[in-house]
Structure formats: structure tokens, C-alpha cells
Amino acid sequence: MSLMKSFLGAAATLAMTAGLAVAEPALIFDLGGKFDKSFNEAAHNGAQRWAEETGGKYREIELQSEAQREQALRRFAEAGANPVVTMGFAMADPLSTVAPDYPDTKFVVIDVNWLDLPNVRQVGFAEHEGSYLVGMLAAMSSKSGTVGFIGGMDVPLIRHFACGYAQGVKAVNPDATVVANMTGTTPAAWNDPVKGSELTKAQISQGADVVYAAAGGTGVGVLQTAADEGILSIGVDSNQNHLHPGKVLTSMLKRVDVAVYEAMKAGEAVETGVFTMGLAEEGVGFAMDEYNADLVSEEMAATVNATRQQIIDGEVSVASYYADSSCPVLEF
């Protein structure tokens, strides 16, 4: 009995401390986990940057199951966390049930831009535009006229990446061939560097001499094999140029870290609504640094930068896979 009492006592103390910690932000990672070297890790980096700069604290959870999505949202909202930052398109549906129940809590969701909820900040990225630019670089660097794309799972988001990439390639070289493969059909596909390596070898045997990996942790294997086999690779999400200096052509940046950092910095006053981070907002782009300076000539960089400006100005339009669930230049 006394054991039970001490259990309850401890639980009560815990509940109180949880209640006292008002207005701490919370961060909900998607199933890939905090250290996926990609999407979730970028969010982690953004949150860490906020914590270091402000000395603030935040709550976090790495989801393990689908049922936990709604659970984590409600539990954090009930504990007074504000804003609650969530990652990934799979949070859209749970958010549309939970957010109306907590009108005083602000929610932030990354990779979602189609909900109609007053207390949700939705941040979408124009991945197709960034992918278009790295596609151009790939086509300019390719000698064989064949470039590769390696995705994680065959989901609309990854098709969106692939479609922008293929359009960029074809814009430079209409005769180029784009070889596109997906890593797998289970969530393990996001973290399977061995399979990424095998797919890279398969694409090399089909003539590819530049490969673009949009596959989370799997991309580590793609970049490694490309470097070992002497072809070029393109990283994704974070700047991965430094992983293999002189072997990674560029990286398609998707500044999830900035989106998370800004949301946390704004705190409870975070502005809600739909925000698209495209080329103009520097939400997406291609990475240039000392590691790939020798790979991208000034002329190449100038051409791509000119196109970047044209896309921002609306002179060049990149078709989005989302628009009609199909891609003009690539079959899935």
C-alpha cells in the first residue's frame, strides 16, 4: 500500500511540474526519428539553435506509432506547450481533429499547406523548384547524358522532388535520360544506406554519372557509393557537400531548420496561416561552399542563378506533381 502511495505521490509531483512549465514549445518528430540525417534532424537542429540562443527549453517526442500522433498533440496541448511544432504530411489529418479542441494553442506543421485551421501555422516548401535547379546542375555536369534519382518510399512527396529534378535536367539537355528508383515500400526505406548503395551501383551500370538522393538516411549510402565509384552525387535537405569533399556536386537545401527556429522564436505569438518557403524566401535552394567550388564552374552557377531569378519572377514555371498527380517529363 505504501508503495502505491509513493507511486501516486510521485505521479502527482510530476503532473504538477508538467503543469508549471507553461508556454514551453514542444516538437513532435515524425516516425523517422530525431537523428535521420535529414528532415527530422533539420528540425532538431533548428530547435537546438533556438534553445542555445535563448536558453529556453522545449519538450520533444519521437513518434513510434500512428496512434501516437493525436495522442502527442493532445498531451502537449493539455500540458500547456505553446507552440506545438509537428513534422510531416502525416500530421495533417490528426491536426484537423485536434487543433479545433485547443483554440488557445498554436500549432505549427511542416510540409503541410492545405488545411483550413485558424490556430495552425502551415509551412510548405517548394521542393520542386529547388530540385529543378539541382537537376540543371546535374545535366550540366553529366558527360553520359544519363542522370539518376533515388527516392525513399514511393509517396507523392518524393515524386514531387523527382518531378522537379527531371524537369531541370530536361531544361538543360532535352535528350537526357533520368533513371528514377525508389528504395523500398516500408518505412525502413528512409534509413537503408546499403540498399541506397546497391541502387547507385545499378544506376551507374545504366550509365548514370550524377545521382540525386532524396531518401533520408538512405542517401548516406548513395553519396558514399557515388564517391567510391567516382561519379557525382547530390545531397538533400541539409548541406551534405562536406560528407565527401569534391565528390558531392551540390545539395538541395530545404530549410526545415529555419522554419522550426522561426516558429519557436516567435513563441506563442507565432503567426498562423499558410506559408510557402520557395526560392524567393530561401526556403529551398542549392548549396555552394568550398567543398564543391571545383565542381560547379562560375558559368554553371551563373546560369542556374539566372534561372532561379526567372522562377522567382514567374518567367519560368516548374510543374508541380501535386497539381494533378502526374509529371510531364517522368513516368512513375
Partner: protein, 364 residues
Amino acid sequence: MEKMPKWADVVLIPLISLLLAAGLSALVILAIGESPTEALNLMIEGALGSTYGWGYTLYYATNFLFTGLAVAVAYHAGLFNIGGEGQAMLGGLGVAYACLFIPWPHWTVALLFASVAAALFGAAWAAIPAYLQAKRGSHVVITTIMFNFIAAALLNYMLVNILKPEGGFDPATARFPDAVHLPSLHEILLPLGINFSKNAPANVSLLVALAACVLVWLLIWRTWLGYEIRSYGKSETGARYAGMSPVKITMIAMLISGALCGMMAINNVMGEAERLVLNATEGAGFIGIAVALMGRNHPFGVFLAAILFGFLYQGGAELALWTSIPRELIVVIQALVILFTGALDNMVRMPLEKIFIALRKEKA
């Protein structure tokens, strides 16, 4: 003569194994600098301390009941069904088709027919490995595990290309219509004056799972078919000599097993998500193996083990929410329980048997 009394086999061994697993988990938690007692408090409070916690614990338990029973039925026929994951995915597809394309008048009718659809899809997915085992001798362990991957690929294709609603970005079906909404425990218990948490996902399919427990018990121990299944599982040659058909028993046991796995979908797809998502099963098919092992392949044991694993899942979620214990460690704790209760069974059993034999000698 039995080496030890039945209660020791059924209660004592799992209990000691559990304590060992808990002890080792406590050491691991201590090693990363967190307090094991606090972690235990959090798990118990979070999983069993409120109707909200119970609602999640029972929701997970419902999943594990179906898959655990499925593994148990196959096991009695000497078959090891590792394909629960794939069969449950296909069950989800069956439920999605039943709920999306037929306008049901009431949830009761929908539940009945969705269960049938889920069972049929699950059974169909088990039928091919069963046939290959029965007729060709291809080992069911290999084929069922391969079918898990084929199921994942099929589900992926269906969701991305066919079932995804127009203009959707998420690889998932549209939400099911309100008419097929299954009452949650909150809605069931409210008329009885019990205010069960509104936000917990446990629903009426828990009752279906409990009914399935009773039916499986009746099937295995009270019917002619169950007798055949058990005889075949104990001794194939003996069963053959007695005139039983190995092909028939293999097929039937696997079909029942697949149907039970498929029926898990009425809980997670129809009851909880109310739409079919890519990652709907999340390993419940594999947890079913541990549940069946721990439950000694008896429906009541499966029931207890399912509750335990439900507790571990929900308690683990609470740990992840309120402590900095990383989720990998929560998986370690769950794995330790599986390891001790399933794989290291003999480690506890053998010394215990010796103790009981020694005790008996003393008496004699």
C-alpha cells in the same frame, strides 16, 4: 508425472521472466542517468492510472489480441505464421474498400461486413503460403515473411496510385463516412454511468477481440476440427495415420490465422484512424508472435499478454513524452520483455523444475 504443477508453468515462469526483464531494464535506465522508479511510476500512471491511459492500453491490446490469437491458432497446427503483418495490411485494404464504397445504414451492419471483408482479405493473403506449404512443402516461415514485403508493396501502390483521394498529398485513403464510425469505449460506457476518456482510441472492436478469444478456445479445445489441428501439430505422422488430411488442416489453420490477423484492421483502421494509412499495422503482426509465445498459445494467456504489451506500448509512449529517455531505449525495454518471456523461457524453467522436483523428493 508432471515436473511441476500447472500454476507454476502458467503463472510463475512468466512472472519471474517479467521481473528479470524489469530488473535489467531498470539497470539500463540507471545507466543512462534516469531514475528507474520514476520511469516505472510514469509508465504505470500513464498506462493504467486514468481511463485515458487505459483507453490507449486497451487499443493496443486489441491489435495484439487479434494477431496473438492468429499466431496461436497456426502454432497449434505446428505452423509458424510470421505473416501477420502482411495479412493485417490486407485486412486494412478490405476494411477500406468495405467502408469507402458501400453506403452502410448503421455502424453495426458496417462492422459485421467490414469484419468479413477484413477476414477474407487476410485469409486470402495467408492462403497462398498455406497452399505452397501444403502442396509443395515450401516452408511457411519463409513464404509468409516474404508475403509481408509483397503486402507492403501492394498497399503502397494502392494508396499512392488508386485509393488516394483527388488532390491529396498524404498516401492514405479519404476519411471513412460518419456512418461507419465505431463507438469508442467512451460512447459505450457513458449510458452505464462511466465517464471513460473521450480521446482514447479503444473502441467496440475490443469486444469483438474478446469474443474471438472465446471462439478460438472453443475451436481448439471443443471441436473436432480443433482436435485435428492439435493432433496434426503434435505429430504429423500420427495424424496422417489416424486418417487426417495434412493439406486440409494446414489450409484451414492458416486461413483462420490469416483471417484473425486481417480482422485487426477493424480496430486500427476502422476504429482508430478511420482511414487507411501507409503504416497502419506498425509491427503488430510481429508483436503477435511474442504475445502468443508468452500466452502459451492459450486464448486466456494471449489476453493477458496482449494487455501487458498494450501497457508497454502506452507506458512507453508516456516515457517518450515526459522524460528524455530516447525511444530506442523504450524499444530495448520492450525487447527485453520479449526476450525473457519468449526466447529465454528455459533459463527460468529449468532451475524452477529442479526446485520443484527437489521439493517433491523432500516430501516423499
